[in-house]
Amino acid sequence: MFKIENLKYYYPGSERPALDGISLEIGEGEFVLVSGASGSGKSSLARVLAGLIPDFYGGRFGGGVYFQGRDIRAMDRRKLARQVGMVFQDPEKQLVMTGVEAEMAFGLENLGLTQKEMFRRVAEVMSFLGLTELRHRFTAGLSGGQKQKLVLAAVLAMQPQTLILDEPTSQLDPVAAEDFFNLVKRLNEETGFTVVLTEQRLERCFHLADRVIIMEEGRVAVDGSPEQAARWAAGSGKPLVPPVARFFSALGVPSPPVTVKGGRRLLMRSLGGRALWGGPGPGGPPASSSKARAPVLEVKDLWFTYPGGGEALQDINIMVGAGEFVAVLGENGAGKSTLLKVVAGLLRPGRGRVLMMDGGRLTEKRGRYPGRRVAYLSQNPNDYLFQDTVEEELLFTLKNFGMEDGGIVGELLEDLQLGRHRWANPRDLSSGERQRVALASVLVTGPDLLLLDEPTRGLDYGLKAGLGGFLSRRAESGTSVVLVTHDVEFAAEYATRVIMMFAGRVVSDGSPHEVLGRSFFYSTQIGKLCRGFCDGILTFSEAVERIGPLFFKKKLSGSSH
């Protein structure tokens, strides 16, 4: 279907190639997963396949890209749009019309189809994707998952043969993301669509692909089956494959399974099918109790109701100690972000109190503003950036609080690996760097409490590890960290305490092992893999440390027999 020959591409004004000597072929009906770190060129490759590079972006372009034997650059744009559909990252920014049905028809109108043909296609896609109920709704009132499904529907209505999906779930919560991937798999299997998916969250889509391409610095590093990609990533120490595959690759399994099901089957075979290690049990190691630490924040009998809405928070009681790293988990609408905003002082509690440590005792915060001792990073780092340089962003916050730069700006920028961007315009940086600038701009006051709302959204494995490491260091140095996340793997790896919320209430609060070890669905991939064999394991390193020796022992004894 696609043939790329020695493709080289430079964005306008860039001296570094975004794509560097790419040659590959994609067959009809294939499901290809393109993975790689941020800036590796996977999104650029997707745009090349959709004909947007160089048409929309400009820049220097070399080599050839062929679609069904024809040079893609010589193809009529309307013809290409009929054959190749593309879905982008942020559903919000792709919607053009106000109503759902009009949005679905937008592409069809552009193709100049007749009324009758448009009715037929809109009706077909609506019933296939189950969107009929939403037909009369406004796009603004849809959830993130529904919006992305609508974007997909609008593209599918154009009846393309190939779907290019550029990190389509990076802005969605895990449940909506899973739904979306299942839908794409169904499309691939039932209708034979060729699918090219670029993605960073591999644990959910690795097993769906027929073929995995891993990119590095604009080049194809690996192109093969998911198992081959897993082996390569494990061999080169790259965290680019899901934890299960990474774990078995680390144990030297020649063709590592990529799903929990496959992994459990292999463990069962290798370990004799019984629990070999009681371990600390689902309770796990004791939590680093907040009672033992000096309290920084106390939330007492807190209730919050949105005007015209339901009760977002119901009777919340939480104590956070100095240096604790707390992850708040829960589905959409559980009240996590509201809790953070109330603690930050951006929303006024309906009932109850938020107490902060001040001068050796817990006192209620006065005034409307959070003050310099609480730092809050919202979901969108772009909301923070407006100064000409990164340094000025930090100085702006300091000035507002009447503080001086006693070297903290330089220190913080170095710590966040932003030193070389000190005099760059923050809007010229990548999304991961922008987030770190936003984080620095609130951390510069040296707060006691750091609140973060879904900071891992859209980050690749490497950036996530960097953020996790940084936050852990801050916590160790005494700053309390409270972060809201959907990312169970991240919470298990870095948090010292996990709070689970549901419908405005705290349903579970304890160490990651206590909370996630007991949960069936809110557990890590490794946790699900090891359940029953060796309870109390949540992370990759724990699994390697505790199951690894057993695995080798069994293997050795197996080979000596």
Binding site: D55, V96, R137, Y369, P370, N382, D383, F386, F396
Partner: protein
């Protein structure tokens, strides 16, 4: 509160009309409110409009509009008598003011101001009813046959405006977290604080507009002549509404040609009811405009009517 002012699907009679029929109905109200100067006629239109708003479950939203309109109405009622000297019946002689001369307030000017504020309320109510009963996409769709690109721009803007209001609020709270106190400082300082909020909003909007443009390009926008998707069907109820509008307009036109529907304020107030013709035309106009309201009431009460029309 704001969401009450915008369209939401309630399944009411007026919402179930073809957008063209709905626009004709609302346009008739607007035209008549502008054509009539007679207080009873303007009040009559207002009564029918309030009934239509009640049927569209929009009285709460209308109250909101009313509060906003009240200030404007008060201004009309105060300024008009102060600057207009055409009335004979002077009820107050005020002090002399440079340029204006001596202030006088006449009964005629006072009445004219009051009637004009009723007209203003009529017009505001029509727009309120439009917001509640006509789906923006469907209304724009009517025009996209003639002015496709302008309609797309309007559609994008109407989608973006509420989103921008939401973004502004979010950016403001982020600035608060960074120590910006919007309540403090001189007027100039406050302007500076708000301008940085707007600055962030514009920077982010510019960035996201590129992504929207890219998505439009990927969906073949601008690749050739476009067609127009419309799902609106013409039903008996639309014919009924348009016929009623035609009847109301015909009665009004006949009335205006024969001197009914207009009212003389200056130099002295005319009789409010000047012969039976005034009442007859008023009744004809009001009853024609009320038919869709009565049909809407029946639509809510009797399910069979829904399927019949």
């Amino acid at each position: 509160m704001l969401d009450k002012l915008f369209y939401s699907e309630k399944g009411s009679f007026l919402q179930a009309l073809h957008p063209l029929a709905a626009l004709v109905y609302l346009g008739t109200f607007l035209a008549l409110a502008l054509a009539f100067t007679h207080p009873l006629y303007l009040l009559g239109i207002l009564i029918v409009l309030i009934l239509a708003l009640w049927l569209a479950e929009g009285l709460e939203a209308w109250e909101g509009c009313l509060k906003a309109a009240l200030l404007m109405m008060l201004l009309v009622m105060i300024i008009n008598p102060l600057v207009v000297r055409a009335g004979d019946t002077v009820i107050w002689h005020g002090p002399g003011i440079p340029v204006f001369g001596r202030l006088t307030v006449s009964l005629e000017a006072l009445c004219y101001g009051a009637v004009m504020s009723v007209r203003l309320l009529d017009i505001i109510s029509v727009f309120c009813l439009y917001n509640l009963t006509v789906h923006p996409d469907r209304a724009l769709n009517l025009f996209s046959r003639f002015a496709g690109k302008s309609v797309l721009v309007i559609s994008l803007a109407t989608k973006i405006l509420p989103a921008m209001a939401w973004d502004l609020e979010r950016i403001r709270s982020v600035q608060q977290v960074r120590g910006v106190d919007f309540g403090k400082g001189t007027f100039k300082e406050k302007i500076k604080k708000y301008s940085s909020v707007v600055n962030i909003l514009l920077l982010s909007s510019l960035e996201s507009s590129m992504e929207t443009a890219e998505s439009m390009q990927a969906r073949a926008f601008g690749s050739g002549p476009r067609t127009c998707y419309s799902r609106s069907l013409w039903r008996p109820r639309d014919t009924l509404v348009v016929s009623c509008c035609a009847a109301a307009l015909a009665a009004a036109l006949w009335g205006l040609l024969h001197g009914f529907g207009r009212y003389t304020f200056y130099p002295q107030l005319d009789y409010l009811i000047d012969g039976s013709g005034t009442v007859a035309v008023l009744l004809a106009v009001m009853s024609s405009l009320s038919v869709p309201v009565i049909a809407g009431w029946g639509w809510r009460r009797w399910h069979c009517l829904k399927s019949k029309i």
